[in-house]
Each structure stands twice: as C-alpha cells, then as structure tokens.
Amino acid sequence: MSEPLIEVTDLRYVYHSDTPQAVVALDGLSFSVEPGEYLGIVGGNGSGKSTLAKHLNALLLPASGTVRVGGLDTRDRAAIWEIRRRVGMIFQNPDNQLVATVVEEDVAFGPENLGLPPAMIRERVGEALAAVGMTEFRRRAPHLLSGGQKQRVAIAGILAMRPACLVLDEATTMLDPAGRAEVLETLAVLNRRDGVTIMLISHAMEDLADAGRIIAMDRGRIVLDGPAARVMARADEIPGGRLGAPQMAKLARWLREDGLRLPEGAHTVEALADAVAAAAGLGTQGDV
C-alpha cells in the first residue's frame, strides 16, 4: 500500500478565533486521498467545503490537527511551494484566475513561477493544452472564450505545473449546463486516461456522477464517506438539505422500492437504462 497523497487528521479551523464572532468552520475532519482517486466532496452553504479546500494547499493553516500532502506538513513554511505545486487548485470564477491576455501565456504562468527553463515550459504548455483539448485556442484572448473553455484553460494552467492532485472548488458552479458538462468530461478523461487524482467540490450531487468516492459534509464535519453509489443512494439523509440525489439515482431507488432488482451505482441515463433492460430481460420479479 503506497502512502496516501493527502492525509487529513483531526483538522479543525475557526474563523475570527478569539472574537465573539468566532465560527467553527471545520470541526475535526479526518480522511485520506489515494493517488488516482476521483473524490467528490459535497455539502451545502457553510458546510466548510471551501475552507477545507484552502487547507489542502496551505492557503489556510489548521488551528489544530494536521494536513499532509505526500508526507509534507502544510504548516512547514519551507515546504509550502512544493505543496502548492503538488495540489493544484481551480476556483469558482474562471475570470478571476486567469492572469495573462493570451491563453498559452496564462498556462505558462505556473511553470514560470516554478523557475523552469523556457524550453521545458513550452513543452508543458503544449501538453497541458492538449490534455484539456484547447490546443487550437492557444493564441486566443481568454476573455473571448466561453465559461467552460476558460475553466479548461485554468485547468491546463494547473496541469502545466505537473501536480499530483487537482482540487476544484465549486469550479462548475458559475458555468452554464454546456460548460459544466464540458468541464466534467475533461476531468473524467484526465482521471481515467492520465491517472490524475481529482477532488471535485460541489454543492450539487449531479456534478459528482463520475466520482468513485464521495464525502458529504455538514457544519464542518464529515457525515458520509464511501463509494459514490452508496453515498448517492443515501443522499436524502445528508443534513443541510438542498442536496437532492441526481434524478437517475432517485429513479433507481424508486424502482428498487417497487421491487425491481437494480444494481447500485447506475446514475447516468444510459447506465440506468442498461440496468433496467438487463433486469427486465432476465425476467426477474417486477412488472416493467
């Protein structure tokens, strides 16, 4: 068993500590992330998921407990840049994370900060743009791209630093449905094809259809942590509300309650249709 990529132990964080307005944002979290995982983190407003994200690359430091990235403690000042290189973060608003006026120059920003030689930067920019399918836009101005494309450029900018893990903090929230699908597809491909570890943070369970494992958060605590299918099936138990299970997961549960024997984990339209067809074709009980 290899060492976990990220190891969070008993993490606590308090905003405005020592003042009357103190808010406990994270209240004793423990979990770890293995290399190659696609982990979804879901929670409502104020559940602490964004605060958690900022701990993963030392933008915030724990009040107590530890966060380790590949064995490096985020409180170690000397390791901070290596940690930020390893854990790449993509934020909600694509406009506010692009620094340059040309796509390829923006993608180069991270590697330039790492002090890499120009030839290597060029190579990595090319690779990163190809990985997110934005090669043909390399000379474009980012403000002329669609939301989904901007977010893919932001992802390329992180990939060019060769991170061990991508953390997306509500990175699909501001996008229209097409842009959201575009970004989710890119992430799924990166995870499957290139083995990039992905942590997708969202308030919407629908976004997590590709995740292998889901952690549900509420008020700074983990309420559920397990395989995606199991967490989705129990989505209604997650407090904080507004975390409706994806429609297909809901439908699957209704059908199951009606007596149709369906396997867990079919939460896309195609997968569920196949599952229903298989169940019906085998002539199991139920009257589909």
Binding site: F91, V99, T101, F109, V125
Partner: protein, 268 residues
Amino acid sequence: MELTRYITVGQYLPRSSPLHNLDPRTKILATTALMVTLFLIPSFAGLGLLAAGLLALLALGQIPLGYALRGLRPIAVLLLLTVFLNTFFGGGDAGRTLFQAGPLVATEEGFRRALFVGLRFILLVTAATLLTFVTSPVELTDGLEWLLHPFRRVGVPAHELAMMMSIALRFIPTLLEETEKIMKAQMARGAEFGQGSILRRARAFVPVLVPLLISAFRRSEELALAMEARCYRGGEGRTRMKELRWRTADLVAGACVIAVSTVLVRLR
C-alpha cells in the same frame, strides 16, 4: 452600447506579422523614439511623412485601419479643444486674421498651429496604440521590466510595476463587460445615462461605479489567491516561457527608426 468595441486603446490583436515578431524591447524603444521625434519635427512635411510611415506600419502589422482609427474616438473632445484653443489663442498677435467671432480672433498663424498640434496629437496616440496592437501585454511588461531593471538599484520595483500593468491590461475587457452589464441592469431599473446636464450625467454614473469598484476589489482578492495557489511569489527565481532575444530584424528595425527620425527632424 458595446464598450469593448468602442474602446480599442490598449487592446492586443494576435497576428503573426513581422511587427508582432519583433522583440518587445525594440518596439517599446522605437515607439518612445518616434514619440520624441514627433515633438521635434518642425514641419508639416515631416508630420505627413510620419503619418504615411505609421499607415505603412499598420498595414505591415495587419491592423485594420478602421479599428485603429476607432482608438481616436475617446480623445475626440480633447482633440477638438486643442484645435479650438490654438486657432484662437495660439497665433499671438502676428499673422493675417482669418475671421472674427466676438472678442475671439482666429489668425492664420493660429489655425496653422492648431492643425499642426492636432495632427501631432493624433499621430502620438496612433503610435502608442500601434504598440499595444502588435505587442501582447505579457511581452510588453517583460520588455518594460527588462528596460527598468537597471533602475532597481535606485528603488524602482521593476517586476511589481510590470506585473501590475499586465494585470490591469488583462482586466480592461473584463471590467468593460461588467460595466456594460451593470449599466444595463440600472437601465432596466429606470436609470438614464447620457441625458441632462453634465453634472446630472456624472451623477447617473455613481450607481454604476460603486458596484463596479466593489466587484473589482473582490476580483482582486480572488485573483491574488489564485496567483498564490499557482506558486507566484514575486519576481525572484521566476523564468519566462518567451525569452527576450535580439534578432537581426530588431537591429534593422532600430536602424530604420533612427534614420527616419534623423531625417524627419531636419525636414523643413
């Protein structure tokens, strides 16, 4: 109203022309030289030749003429004011009187001066916008940073200035877009822009500027966070994807600018 289309100053037009391929330092130095030359040119003939030269450069850089001229629109008022003041007050007492309007006397000398100053102004702005049309902001700031580097010893924060300028240029279109959005939102609530006295128009912009500023501050905070997350820690130890490199073309371009300037300054 399409603000992004209206304001072309400071916009980069990605092409692959000989002008685009020059080293940014060459372009900055050449533009500065041309601007200084503009103030030293004594004759209309010189200005005319320089205008022709700039037109040729626009063509070489594949910049549509109409697009370049649109850059002059925001300065139209300033331009008219300059011409007006010079026509009536620039000539002194000497020179033939052209016409008289009340106490204002337009002299031939004044009119000549007005045209001269006006033309110089137009050329000045065109030269500056040409630089930004053919140089990406990142290149521009790289060039500036290099040129300012010797002054670091006397406390000029070269990298910080360059980075600030680059980010400002990056956010011009974004903020213009946002201004447009806020204006439309206020119009939908009954706000009227461009009507009434100047004071009234200025006041109508307060409900646009306040949200714009607030959002700009929020953006800056997020951007700073995103930059830190991408390992930005100032200019120390930073490298560049596009290295600045003097080529033969830069040498030739520099020589051309020096030669042209020398001739123009002497042309009577």
